[in-house]
Amino acid sequence: MEVHYQIRRPVALEAHFHIRGFTVLLGESGVGKTTLLKALAGLVPAQGTPFPGLPPERRPVGYLPQDLALFPHMTAWENVAFPLRGPGRKEQALKLLERVGLREHAHKRPGQLSGGQKQRVALARALARKPELLLLDEPTSALDPLTKDQVVADLVDLIRQQGIPALAVSHDPALARMADWLLVMGRGRILQEGPPEEVLASPKEVEVARLLGYENLFPARVVPGGVAVGQVILTLPLPSWARMDEEVWLGVRAEEVIVVREDRPLPPENVLEGVLEGLHPEGLAFRGRFLGPVTLTLLLPRHVQERLRLHPGQRLRVALKPRYLHLMPSQAGEIA
């Protein structure tokens, strides 16, 4: 499905993108993600396709707002039956609840359900309308952090089973990894779209890279066979768009900064020497800061730290593998 929308209020934006399967729209707060979603549902005035000019009542969309907006005075099945008409509405509602695996909770009120269950009731209610498109606003935000990943994975599976395209807006990169198609939104426009593995591995702009969790971003200059970051020359295969002496951005993921083991042969290129400034546990990994010719944030998996036993203040060498170095033009829109 192709979307082309222009919105003036409450946020001015123009967006042209595709929805393919379970599509995730990633963007920071305030860029207009929710506005775009509401515009697709017909709740915010917009110009464009699909559903041009239709009021919300006549759009075949299923909208799940961030707080899900289940009717608190109705049971699960009554919520699902709300859009249905006719004598068979209870049976239909129960079937829909069966489809989302909540048949046995049909007589509970929303207040008695968990976050994930509420989400599935809201999904069943949206499905009752027979939508051609599902719209989900921040589906990971209302979930218990401990069980979030599993609950979201189940929800995404469930949505895929329905065979209905879905657009989920989020600022959670974890959700982006589950997508069939990924969109990245900046202020008032879509910055990049594509399959998630492509977008995650090669963001086209520094803003996209920042959103996707590239913690090490440096302005750099193109030189023969690589780039210069400050005084350091780093070797890497140059993309075809890169011109000599051009100002570019260089991005490296924290988990792709490699600590050199002294008992092993030195990697052939891009070895930097410096001091480890700090090292703090982060979940099962360790986050540290490397002060050398460039300053780098690094994220060590615990099996690496267990072997190396690094401590703050020590000298160490890190290597930046050419294929993990990602170049982006310094101005947006330079690559067509």
Binding site: K38, A41, G42, L43, P55, P56, E57, R58, R59, V61, G62, Y63, P65, D67, A69, F71, P72, H73, F82, P83, R109, P110, G111, R125, A126, A128, R129
Partner: protein, 225 residues
């Protein structure tokens, strides 16, 4: 013992209050909905005008209503109806007098309604009438009813406005508050005390009902999220 004139005036007061509450419910609910969800130029001024009866001396309000409804007033010229010193006039005055109470309560009830519920209901392709019946009313009725009850109690106790608009014609426009005043003027304190006790109990009963309804309204709100 309380005499028949007391019961006659109390019945009249109850009738006026009941009719006025009904009119308030019919006109105030759509008005409050409109004020809660629409914005337009001059809204603040309009809201101030609706709230004016709260601060205006009741006799001032009553005086204007009397002029409006009187034999030379615009209402008479417009409709041919003479409502001064009549039951209709009392109801008209009571509606204006109690409008701020009802309106404020109704608006609070609507503003406490989660807007997302209404938006989602629309995206579900449900006609507006059904949204009102199945979502708006079930979630706001405690607030709407408590606002109406407050207006009812307020109307029951009004004095200045109804005296100006209705006078004190026994059996026709003499409301219970005015009857009580007349008792005191005639130094019949024992009867005045009994009448006051009846009104006190009535008012207390209404307020207890209002509190219970408010608690009920809060119960829904806490389960919305």
């Amino acid at each position: 013992m309380l005499e028949p004139p007391f019961w006659t005036s109390l019945t009249l007061s109850l009738e006026v209050a009941l009719t006025a509450s009904f009119v308030l419910l019919l006109t105030g609910v759509p008005l409050a909905w409109w004020l809660a969800f629409r914005s337009f130029p001059g809204k603040a001024l309009l809201e101030a005008i609706f709230l004016l009866p709260l601060v205006l001396p009741p006799t001032v309000l009553g005086f204007y209503i009397l002029l409006f409804l009187g034999p030379e007033g615009p209402w008479r010229k417009l409709t041919g109806l003479s409502w001064a010193f009549s039951f209709e006039g009392l109801v008209f005055a009571s509606v204006l007098f109690s409008l701020p109470f009802a309106l404020t309560a109704y608006r609070e009830a609507f503003l406490s309604l989660d807007r997302n519920l209404l938006e989602v209901a629309r995206t579900l392709g449900v006609p507006r009438g059904k949204i009102w019946l199945k979502v708006v009313l079930p979630l706001t009725w405690p607030g709407l009813l408590s606002g109406t009850l407050l207006a009812f109690a307020h109307t029951l106790g009004e004095f200045g406005v109804v005296l100006m608009v209705g006078g004190s014609i026994p059996g026709k426009t003499q409301m219970v508050s005015i009857y009580l005043y007349d008792l005191v003027q005639a130094l019949r304190f024992r009867e005045a005390a009994e009448a006051s006790a009846v009104l006190l109990l009535l008012s207390l009963g209404v307020l207890v009902a209002v509190r219970l309804l408010e608690a009920r309204g809060r119960a829904w709100k806490s389960t919305t999220r």
